[in-house]
Amino acid sequence: MADKNLIGHRTGVFSVDVEKGRLRFFAKAIGETDPIYTDEAAAKAAGHRALPVPPTFLKCMESEGRDVVELLNLVGFDLGRVLHAEQSFVYHKMAFAGDVLTFDGFISDIYEKKGGALQFVVMEARVTNQHGEHIADIRSSLVQR
């Protein structure tokens, strides 16, 4: 069982640049066909100031700045036995290519189910942009089977 004393543990603050090439690569990887996610002229015509960060990409940016293996070691999880159980995003403002996003994370819960056969760790992060505007809150729940 992961140490419940880790609830509330700050997992660090870091900033990540939103790169437009990276957004295009992501769009390709998810088969995105809407040109606003790859073509700046189309994004601007749709009223966006640059290529938008699509809804789930915030999680990708978070994993770029955080060493997941180190975090798993902290809670005693083994990468080969870990599955993503839940993921949620609450959006306050959109983010765009060229922004610098800051992620401020913490462990919000640790619990077990099925008499300890399944162990859960829940991590949350507050995301802000370079102007200090609140972009989103993201929450990830991992389970070790």
Binding site: F25, A29, E32, P55, T56, R81, V90
Partner: protein, 138 residues
């Protein structure tokens, strides 16, 4: 054509999104583009050592497909939240299909909003993700 709150009824389905079958190339691209470098999704040897028969899709790939379902329906600026539970593993050859159904119409924070129940299933109808989104409508 903009989706109007007054035109939407509880029980309405939004246009579904059917994807291409998931293959190893899909997973290699998603590994690189997402930054999720967990070898269990791309390295057969690692997957077998971890007790799996083969590599399998990132749950977040299907979550991204649900994001596409939403942003194909409304502008992303109207999406207030998205949450997903990973209820099954998407294997190679599975054909993800994403659907959304309006479960509630309500006003919150001075906006008209709808709650959607989201699902991603494979070609056999097996659920892989269940989720929920809140979208603001004019």
């Amino acid at each position: 054509m903009t989706v109007q709150y007054s035109d939407i009824q509880v029980g309405d389905e939004i246009p579904l999104l059917k994807l291409q079958p998931v293959n190893r190339t899909t997973l290699a691209f998603y590994c690189g583009a997402s930054g999720d470098h967990n070898p269990i999704h791309v390295d057969l040897d690692f997957a077998r050592k971890s007790g799996m028969d083969d590599v399998f899709a990132h749950g977040m790939l299907s979550a991204a497909y649900l994001g596409r379902l939403l942003t194909a329906w409304v502008s992303q600026s109207q999406v207030r939240s998205l949450s997903v539970r990973f209820t099954g593993i998407t294997l190679l050859g599975h054909v993800p299909t994403c659907t959304g159904k309006v479960t509630e119409k309500f006003e919150e924070a001075g906006e008209q909003r709808v709650r959607l129940a989201l699902r991603c299933t494979n070609q056999y109808g097996d659920e892989k993700l269940a989720g929920e989104a809140i979208v603001a409508l004019a």
